[in-house]
Amino acid sequence: MTNVIDNVSHEPVAGRAPLILGAPDFHAITEAVAQPAERATPLAWWLFFLPSLGMLGILGLAVAWLVWEGIGIWGLNQPVGWAFDITNFVFWIGIGHAGTLISAVLFLFRQKWRTSINRAAEAMTIFAVMCALLFPGIHIGRPWVAYWMAPLPNQMGTWPGFRSPLLWDFFAVSTYGTVSALFWYVGLIPDLATLRDRATTRMRRYTYGLFALGWRGSARNWQHYETAYLILAGLATPLVLSVHSIVSMDFAVAQLPGWHTTIFPPYFVAGAIYSGFAMVVTLMVITRKALGLEHILTRFHFDRMARIMLVTGSIVGYAYAMEFFIAWFSQNPYEQFTFVNRAFGPYWWAYWTMITCNVLSPQVFWCKRARTSLAIHFVVSIFVNIGMWFERFVIIVTSLHRDFLPSSWGMFYPTTWDILLLIGSFGLFFTMFCLFVRFLPVVAAAEVKSVLPAADPHHATGQRATPAMAGRLAPEGAH
């Protein structure tokens, strides 16, 4: 696609830069979004899909061996009874948050640029939640009774520990997964109908038609759609805060120095959004290129994502600093030791990896050229992904490995199975994402059309808004 106008080198002060380049009409958007799901499978797709599938196979192997042999195959010990499993869980849950922020919070804040990325980000959310849910299920030692985590009626003689944050996790994450899936699916319906109507084979028409739920694009359809979408956005917004707050309480309700600190809930939420945006950037840098969506997912969008990463990265940096300061300020020797040990103890390298990746690397985004360079975006997003994984590792392992009694101190070393399981979870994530890119519209076409100049009823030239488009005019900020 041709980049006729550049929407980043000059941003007007009055008025707004165009979000979509090349002034496409509605039909051109439909073509650009639908074609990747309709054309024959390109070779490049297999180049991504097969390695992902291979990694998913590793996951299967690692889980099967875990179930057969037990969690002794991991490097857990006394005192570190919780390491990669919970690190991975928190990491993946965090990744999901960008999707919800983009789809719900930015919707309420009338950030129209979200329309180009919300679909893919929400899909990513769902896949990340799937990866996350895996870990509580398998880390309990007897995965075949994982359903005991749910608050089942007690005819089995078990009663869930309502005072345990692990149970709250179950509520929080399952609610989050459900609402995210609903939100994503509701948003998909109009685009599924488009794919149905464009289908050239009976099979495609039936399959897309099945999930399009009889969508006809009438004004009535749109009106209901808008209402549902707004309500779901309203419901999903508190979930952005609540889920990772509850996850943070897995640690913060304990009395362990390094875990027990009051700033954890908002600090975890900011970190989650931060890591999620990094993952969105990693994925979208590749996806936009592969699917030829450069005019829809422009450098302007990356500029905005860079700003959000700079903000959330700074909040995370604030929390690191505040924890350190208050540890000193408390004059509690255990608190002080934990933080000194984090930075200068045996896991110093993990701590400084975290600081370098999370606090220092996004600072390049102060510079506009970095915010609009996809190469820099890609590199920084990988750094942040690494840093955010290490953040959870640092919090979890360094706080546990040297607790109150020096006689019980120890070290955690991951085994091969720990590492394979982590790799395998990426396999699950990338496999799902590859399938999504192959079979579903990666961009919310109907929403993107609403931010085109032609969607404005005052727009002078040519294209008149259809009834469907009239419906699409309302959403941003209708509440």
Binding site: V13, A14, S245, M249, A252, A254, T261, T262, P265, L310
Partner: protein, 399 residues
């Protein structure tokens, strides 16, 4: 929606003179307040504590104003331009708070245990904290906050005013360029001023959330206060047609959102301390469960969150001037109570003892604050006339 429909703003209609009356009223309140509080309790701990509560209450409104202005600049917000000047005028009072700080400096020994050598001698903890909690460094930090706040407030205020005449787009760009740095300064100074002036009242106690807690209250305060100022401008015949129901609706949404945010922060802090049940932390809440402090705490939970949550939820409430004013007055009162509840148990551990000194100090600080707003406002237009995004703000609609 940004259709640049031409909407004419008549500068003559939106002169800051509308706020001129505040100078007189504020001045009178200030004189009466200072006189009454000195006569009633001059030099006693009660005087200093009451002053501190009132001071932080109005300071938090002004700091909230600074935050609002910074966020509007950094996010290139279009909708908020038409009410930005009102917020700027609140922010512009920040330098005055350096003067209002004098009684707190005078009363530092009455207010802060760590500033009393005999207490420090008794406590190993306080001796350990002395590198941070000592009079000199505490004073230097205060100076740094005032320098940062005054510099930011003056910069944004004067630049915006300059744009009234020139309409220069580069001023918007410049403000946007400085705003991110301003936000960092704001975050650090707000956090540490709340630690210095409030948290250190109980110097053994600590919470990493404290700065965020203070911030969340400040944001509620500014949104509430803006609603009241706009209504006041309406009564003076200004801002009508410029700040419309649409803008107030948005401010209402923000007030609603940050009411939830306050509850989230307050609950998280309480909950984690309650659950951890470590004596050196629970002491803070134990103190606030004594006598009538317990009821004040419950009133905050219901009154600062639950009631306004349901009150502000309907769309109609956010689009009705009368209902918004009720919510704003109520939330400001609750914010005051929140600060009172955070500070006063140190002086009156046995029970809440609100009194005339509190009222007098409130009138003194509030009078100066209002007079400053009146004085700043009356020297310029009430609308940023030269802002290139003003047309966008004027035609803004919540659909």
């Amino acid at each position: 929606m940004s259709h640049d429909r031409a909407v004419a703003v008549d500068p003559a209609q939106h002169r800051g003179k509308a706020f001129g009356r505040l100078t007189g009223v504020g001045g009178a309140l200030a004189v009466a307040g200072v006189g009454a509080s000195v006569a009633l309790a001059g030099g006693t701990p009660q005087f200093y504590f009451s002053w501190l509560v009132a001071y932080l209450f109005f300071l938090s409104i002004a700091l909230g104003g600074l935050f609002f202005v910074l966020v509007l600049a950094v996010s290139r917000a279009g909708w908020g331009v038409s009410l930005r000047r009102v917020v700027e005028n609140v922010m512009a009072t920040l330098p005055v708070f350096a003067v209002l700080f004098v009684p707190i400096w005078l009363g530092r020994h009455e207010l802060y245990a760590w500033a009393r050598p005999e207490e420090v001698a008794k406590s190993a903890l306080l001796r350990g904290k002395a590198p941070f909690l000592n009079e000199d460094f505490w004073f230097v930090r205060a100076i740094l906050y005032f320098v940062a706040w005054s510099a930011l407030a003056t910069f944004f205020s004067t630049q915006s005013q300059k744009q009234d005449e020139t309409g220069d787009e580069r001023i918007s760009a410049r403000m946007r360029g400085i705003a991110p740095v301003g936000i960092i300064l704001f975050a650090l100074s707000t956090t540490f001023c709340s630690i210095d002036w409030m948290m250190s009242l109980e110097p053994e106690w600590y919470s990493t959330m404290y700065g965020v807690y203070f911030f969340s209250g400040a944001v509620i305060a500014i949104f509430s206060f803006v609603i009241l100022l706009v209504q006041f401008a309406y009564t003076q015949g200004a801002l009508r047609g410029v700040v419309t129901t649409e803008h107030l609706h948005d401010v209402g949404k923000l007030l609603f959102g940050f009411t939830i945010f306050w509850a989230y922060i307050a609950f998280s802090q309480y909950f984690l301390i309650w659950y951890g049940n470590i004596p050196e932390e629970t002491v803070y809440y134990m103190k606030r469960q004594v006598g009538s402090w317990q009821s004040v705490g419950m009133l905050l939970a219901y009154g600062h969150f639950l009631l306004p949550f349901f009150f502000l939820m309907p769309r109609a409430a956010k689009r009705s001037s009368a209902l918004l004013v009720i919510a704003a007055v109520w939330q400001l009162f609750m914010h005051f109570l929140d600060l009172h509840w955070a500070i006063m148990p140190v002086l009156h551990p046995e029970s809440a003892r609100p009194g005339f000194v509190d009222l007098a100090a409130f009138s003194a600080v509030g009078g100066v604050f209002l007079a400053a707003i009146g004085w700043v406002s009356s020297r310029r237009a009430l609308v940023p006339l030269g802002d290139p995004r003003l047309p966008e703000a004027l035609s803004f609609e919540n659909v």
